[in-house]
Symmetry: D2
Subunit: 304 residues, 4 copies
């Protein structure tokens, strides 16, 4: 297939740009075009359940409304999130915010009570509100369910939050389950532990497996949207091992493959493990999720 | 400080090479030299507890004996491991092995029952033995402790294994606790869930926090050895937030910092969050752990 | 400044997407937005001469029409190209083409006379036409100018080519000089040498410096668009040292900074060398040029 | 082949460490072991001419003595260098030095007359001495040879320098030719141009091709050591196209392959172009040259 040169014009739509990428079909541009097609097809196909994993600082980095929009529009059916993305979603739901870093030294930031994630800042005052609020929610939830799975906990939190941009709240109201196998490793996990010291509240680590496996077995086909991450990506892939693997998937990552970490592994590797089906349609885009995913999703919207 | 040129000679020791790197002190060579000094100092200092995190395919990739040696020699006091590294340690303890990939296509590998991790292969026959054996251990452990934390579970497994190269066995016998906040996301986790469906066996997700926090508060100083990974690195850093952060640390990673994922974040960022102390001595080496860590540890051994 | 969440909608324009990135302003999305503003401003400002460097496989990778369009619209005033990008522009001008790789082994490709650049293929038959045609042009040019500078040679070639999509032809007809300090290292260079063995034709390596320095000194301000590359990026930066450095610049690269290669160096480093002015406005986007540059340029077009 | 676990011991030699890597044979450690074997074999084999390319800041970064040692010991037969590595070799030969960066802002460094390369600093006073000295050499050389090729120029400079650690001086005295196709793009090139404005001194860009092609055709076999770089790597590969390609090669780079730049391309790609022979033995190590090359070379010395 001949490589066509890319043409750019004033006022062009995102989907026109990706159509140009598709005509070129090579290097990064080609990867974006193929990922867009796979994404559009998995969303359009009513027989495909869409699983999405959220690794890296996606919520602090501006992806919160997109995730909520995808849930509302029925474009995603199941989410696997890092604990941090849940924490930062709640931090905003409780009135907090993220700020652009101004280049201060990390010791200065520490003195001012500011935590840094690359070029994003978060203030300790917002974390104080977070602590107060999350404990208030734990009180309510533990009274109702003293033993709870992680997914159920996130669902209950979501139902108690009133923020239409919160992806936790939106997911709860739209029956999109959120799994978070590493939830212990975030501010929610820390507060959970402190709370459980003087309350009867137990989080079952393996408690979500029956529900997750029911969803996998109940899915005619499964598509994967794997955004950054190691644990969240692997959990999404591995949950599908029970049913022969994903039918199609896109991943976006900056990690490289040679050192063997799961985060940087090519999706093809998943076929050897039956985490993706032999013959499945897979695309990896090497790039920053905050650039690539909005680009791909906007282009896919015009194909649905 | 002037950059000295590096001199190489026949029969030179690893520690001589790193001494040459120290005289140069710039680029990657300088990073290796500084990391070696920090590592040697944290091991030598009796007031420093050494926490090590194991992310990426370290056990399949040849780091198993080094981790066990470090435990035996008292060079590490606490480990945070990915589930996969635990699984692959047990796979070898149960008689299995890892093999060098021969370049077959992933669909071919699938047909032959071989899983691929970069250029490493694992056979499904070894996983079948793993399943049988891990379930045998679960029987014994669940009879003794029907409710158990993750660290306790790994300890009990370690005490039941007879393989002097297993880091799980060696850690159990040397009172080095192993934490694994993401254990659910690996073959052990999968088997745990299947086992728990018809056995009374509950893994408490937050159950390790009291013990971990006791260790942190009981440490005069804490040093970190952060090998690859996202979750395992973060959990190691975050556990120290309770006591003001790490006093010194080295990390080895191929992930880049710009996209904001924790795995690629510079250690300095941890200071803003009080996960590393202001004034702490920190070094990042950008490179493949299987090359860099043996190099650094061999050089550090000559300084202890 | 608060990080705003990114909103995506059906039928959105590229410039709307980048406006959303600007409201977020962090991570990769923020870098894209800042680069777009710098690019739009340098193009709009009549006192700024725009220098663009072309490294990596940009012409085989689909950027040919964009470069030609920028020349025609007066959006670029000077180009520094790798020899390979010149060669591949001529290969298409002489009727050849680039093709998408189909995954064959490199030894198979060799047997079929196909050269591979990542996932792009080029056929030896097209290189045979290239050889015949470039030698025809050398005959004409050497008869006119037996001693010639690299820039003059490229100009003369451009005037003899009839392909409106060729950036060499378009540049020649629009008085945009193309410099190529490494031209010897490509198929044009190889043919030049063979031709010069039995023809009186000498290429002066330093012959372009007076003209280049005149342009630099004659520029009120200079903006840089640095796409990939090591030599081409450095030559563009270094040519401005004579006049205090670039006034503004964007670079797009996948190379990392730690190992110290110029290709991966942050643009800020150029300030220390007076290759960029202190106070200059600089943005680096870490990403694949074939994705990022069309995105940025399309968004900039709506701001001009 | 089974992956063996790596064992580390006190006082171990570099070659013992690499022997451990060889027993593991996977991930980065395996790449280092394979590269060491290829390097040792190409040095040992009297029928193999060894071509080495020097890209990235190798001389400022501590590799100067190693390159000179390799020349003296007959371990390298031909060098392709970036202009910058030549410049920095001369800067030291003329009494200058490189210094470790202390973390100042680039605008501060500029005010102090210090140029920065990653974490390396160079002072403008040393460049002033460089300018005076290089012009003194140009006077002598131009009087002798008013028209000169790049390789001849570097040779003549080398013969006039009295510094046993200078790789230019060492190469000249040991008949190891140094090619530098991009020499115009460095401080030597800038001074050349200024000098040529009022002196009769012409550098022929294509003048080295006959000599280089004679060496290639006169080599029974050619081995490549490709350290960093884009242009220098490509020129080394491409010069061998005339004779069917390299017979064996190692490359060390941090650049990634997906975006298609030559610097990050896998060596296998060179087979499709006949720049490496089909069946040739090739190894790529992904890593920082200043760590990896001393490690590999020290280990190879024990095998020769």
């Amino acid at each position: 297939m001949k490589v066509n040169q890319i043409d750019i014009s004033k006022d062009m739509k995102v989907s026109d740009l990706v159509a140009q990428f598709e005509a070129s079909d090579v290097l990064g541009a080609g990867r974006v075009a193929r990922a867009t097609n796979i994404l559009a097809n998995m969303i359009k196909d009513e027989d495909t359940n869409v699983f999405m994993s959220l690794g890296g600082p996606l919520i602090p980095g501006g992806m919160r409304n997109i995730v909520s929009q995808m849930i509302r529009e029925g474009h995603v059916d199941l989410i696997v999130s890092s604990g941090a993305n849940l924490t930062h979603d709640l931090l905003e739901a409780f009135g907090g915010a993220h700020y652009r870093d101004e280049g201060k030294d990390d010791e200065e930031l520490n003195a001012e009570g500011i935590g840094r994630i690359a070029d994003i800042n978060v203030g300790s005052n917002d974390f104080e509100v977070f602590e107060k609020e999350i404990n208030r929610l734990f009180e309510i939830i533990s009274a109702k369910k003293p033993v709870i799975s992680i997914q159920e906990l996130i669902y209950e939190i979501g139902m108690l939050i009133d923020d239409e941009n919160s992806f936790i709240a939106t997911a709860a109201r739209n029956n999109v389950p959120i799994f978070a196998p590493g939830i212990i490793d975030c501010m929610i996990g820390l507060q959970l532990w402190i709370f459980s010291q003087d309350h009867d509240f137990t989080i079952s680590a393996a408690g979500d497996m029956p529900y997750l496996s029911d969803i996998v077995f109940g899915s005619e086909k499964v598509g994967g949207i794997l955004l950054g991450g190691g644990l969240t990506k692997h959990y999404t892939l591995a949950s599908n091992i029970l049913n022969g693997g994903l039918d199609c998937a896109v991943q976006i990552t900056m990690d490289r493959p040679e050192a063997g970490s799961l985060g940087g592994a090519p999706l093809e590797e998943a076929k050897s493990w039956s985490k993706a089906k032999c013959g499945s349609n897979l695309a990896t885009v090497v790039g920053d999720v905050t650039i690539i995913f909005p680009l791909i999703y906007a282009a896919a919207l015009d194909k649905i």
